[in-house]
């Protein structure tokens, strides 16, 4: 009873917060976002903050983090950020066009990107929704609005700003766009971020998200990203999660793929507290291909949960998932991989693999494939392993003069390499290789170390 009462109280806290600040939310944003709020908050109210009893959040209790007290950022608050300072943390420095978001808001002092191909729009969702609503209106909440996830609904209710990118038909954006999501505040903060990416027909682009924190305080980010991959488009989305270990986040990404489109999503989780990544792909056009990779390296009390959901709604599509986790100390991981092949989605190829290495007895991994196949002419496979470092391989390396610590490192790097090698931006691949190695060596600067430098 108490548990239920607490749950109601916790959820009410968020609905009350919404109603009390409704006008503030509306003022700070655009009509396109504002008109979604009412339905969203009602949808949130129905389920509330999911606890253990929610099947989709079985391995990640969000009540724990949503129950903490945070300052809610309900209007834009100017924060000064020195990009050079941000780069002192391990934000990968690449030859990219950089866009900075602070606490979920587009940073006002971003340098305009003048060299983008004609028609490409990169900037603030709020601003574009106000100034060029025609670019936003057909897409915003089209995928996320179909979700029954209360956390996604909560995002829609509170969303005011985030990253926006539009690539017109036939346009190739050669230089990757690097979105640096910084959390910066002196006290615990709850942030909501809403991103929208639209890749037109036969377009190509690469986006790299880097999640970082600049202060050693509790954060909670509720982020939703909707991505539309047009017919024949090729889109890469890379995410590097490297926040402090008190920073928590729920990141829900929705991809819709049209015919012949090619999507690559790769998420590397290095540091962070509780992280839940929801990834939904809808195969809406035939011969679409999605390659989805994820890897995490956790220690202490980190908790990383990846939940994927691939909807094969039409025939002849390919989805391939490889998720790998290395868990040290008391960290906990989870992977749930749902694949749904609808009745007439014949000739579907859907593959899924989840491999995990536990380095201690107290680390814990939960893995759950869920295949729902309603078509009869398909190729689907799934596999999950949970194991330790291969002792035979370790001895083999040591018997060839390689010291134990180096040998372990080699094996863990090799384990991660299968994911890293699929990164299609070479300097990023090298950089992530390096970050992974540093992470494994324990040398990766915790973000809060920046303040101490």
């Amino acid at each position: 009873m108490t548990l239920t009462a607490n749950k109601v109280a916790l959820s009410e806290k968020y609905t009350e917060l919404f109603h009390a600040n409704r006008s503030l939310l509306d003022e700070g944003s655009s009509d396109l976002l504002n008109r979604m709020r009412e339905i969203a908050i009602k949808r949130f109210e129905k389920v509330g903050i999911p606890g253990f009893k929610n099947e989709n959040y079985k391995y990640t209790n969000l009540e724990r983090v949503f129950g903490k007290s945070f300052r809610h950022l309900l209007e834009y608050q100017p924060v000064d950020v020195d990009l050079n300072e941000a780069f002192r943390c391990d934000v990968p420095q690449l030859d990219t066009d950089v866009v900075l978001l602070v606490n979920g808001w587009y940073y006002a002092k971003n340098q305009p990107l003048n060299n983008l191909p004609k028609g490409v729009v990169v900037g603030s969702l709020k601003q574009v929704a106000n100034e060029q609503p025609e670019l936003v209106k057909d897409y915003l909440n089209r995928q996320a609005g179909l979700s029954d996830d209360p956390i996604v609904a909560l995002n829609t209710a509170f969303a005011q700003d985030g990253f926006f990118m539009y690539v017109p038909d036939q346009v190739v954006v050669e230089k990757p766009i690097q979105v640096i999501n910084l959390m910066r505040a002196e006290e615990p903060v709850f942030a909501t971020q809403r991103n929208l990416i639209i890749a037109g027909k036969n377009s190509q682009a690469k986006v790299i998200f880097c999640d970082h924190t600049m202060n050693p305080v509790d954060f909670l980010t509720n982020s939703v990203t909707e991505v539309f991959v047009g017919q024949d488009a090729v889109l890469d989305i890379y995410t590097i999660q490297n926040q402090n270990n008190q920073a928590n986040s729920v990141n829900s990404s929705f991809f819709r793929q049209e015919a012949n489109s090619n999507l690559l999503s790769s998420v590397a989780t290095l540091h962070g507290g509780l992280i839940r990544n929801n990834l939904k792909v809808e195969m809406a056009g035939e011969h679409a291909e999605a390659n989805l990779y994820g890897m995490s390296f956790t220690d202490k009390n980190q908790h990383v949960d990846n939940f994927t959901n691939i909807e094969h709604a039409v025939p002849n599509c390919l989805s391939n998932q490889v998720y790998k986790n290395v868990l040290d100390e008391d960290s906990v991981g989870a992977f749930t991989g749902r694949i749904h092949v609808v009745r007439d989605a014949q000739k579907t190829n859907a593959f899924q693999r989840n491999n995990n290495v536990l380095l201690t007895d107290s680390a814990k991994m939960n893995t759950k494939p869920q295949l729902i196949i309603d078509a009869d002419d398909v190729k689907c496979s799934h596999g999950a392993t949970i194991g330790q470092i291969d002792e035979e391989a370790l001895f083999y390396l040591r018997a060839r003069c390689i010291g134990e610590a180096d040998a372990r490192m080699m094996l863990m790097n090799a384990f991660a390499h299968e994911v890293v090698q699929n990164i299609r931006v070479e300097p990023l691949r090298d950089r992530i290789d390096e970050l992974v190695e540093k992470r494994l060596r324990g040398e990766l600067a915790r973000c809060h170390a920046c303040d101490k430098n």
Binding site: F395, C401, E404, D406, N413
Partner: protein
């Protein structure tokens, strides 16, 4: 070079080696033969430093040092080489990186500078030819997708790269066809040196036609029950291990 005195070893509480005594001098080739389960591989693994074994008694002196006190990597750096019976596949670790790290770790231990890229490639080309190792194989991950014969050749290739003082070849002949056996043996023989000793562990006499031993020891139920010259191998082949069982009783 190597003196083993009364070595007793157990695994999971079961005694496998029950008092081994062996003396190997520089330049000698010793063959250790015996039926399955007699402890041959255990002896090789213990000498190389595999950790799951429990040393109950005895000592192993290698070049004046107690070998059993050293880590597997230090033994390797000091020149002890184990050619594995079943070389493991290590996906994701490229052969080239592996060999390079291995060679340079050994050089570091000896106080030598790492090889330059050019020197390393030259050395690798040379040694690959020695065992007719397909060039493509060194572009793969360690042993990944190698055939049985390729794995064994790869072991000898690594031995050639590291030039060990004491090579222990654990059933290098098992699963090799006669051509591969000849190539592998030629490789081993090419590395023969007055300062280098070899322990050949094998079940069959055939390998010893190619790698001619100075001494043959028969290991049976954890003990060396007979030692003699190379003629012992032929006698064993002819009469079978059963002869030995009766003989030892």
């Amino acid at each position: 070079m190597l003196t083993i005195k009364n070595l007793r070893v157990a695994i999971e509480g079961k005694e496998i080696l029950k008092g081994i005594n062996l003396e190997i001098k520089a330049g000698e080739v010793h063959a250790i033969m015996g039926p399955n389960g007699s402890g041959k591989s255990t002896l090789g693994n213990v000498l190389a430093g595999k950790e799951e074994y429990e040393i109950l008694d005895g000592e192993v002196i290698y070049e004046g040092q107690d070998l059993l006190d050293l880590s597997a990597e230090d033994r390797a750096r000091m020149g002890v080489f184990l050619g594995f019976q079943y070389p493991v596949e290590i996906p994701g670790v490229p052969m080239v990186n592996f060999i390079k790290t291995s060679v340079n770790e050994m050089r570091k231990f000896k106080g030598l500078e790492p090889l330059t890229a050019g020197e390393f490639l030259k050395l690798m080309r040379e040694k690959k030819e020695l065992v007719h190792l397909d060039s493509q194989l060194t572009n793969r991950s360690v042993n990944e997708g190698f055939s049985g014969g390729e794995k064994k050749k790869n072991e000898i290739f690594q031995m050639a790269m590291l030039e060990p003082k004491l090579a222990i070849l654990d059933e290098t002949d098992s699963g090799l066809d006669i051509d591969a056996l000849r190539i592998v043996s030629d490789g081993v023989n090419a590395l023969k040196h007055p300062e280098r000793s070899t322990i050949v562990i094998t079940h069959y006499q055939r390998l010893l036609d190619y790698i001619v031993p100075d001494f043959v020891h028969v290991l049976y139920q954890g003990q060396i029950v007979k030692s003699a010259g190379k003629e012992l191998a032929l006698e064993l082949e002819e009469k079978g291990y059963d002869w030995l069982k009766n003989h030892s009783l």
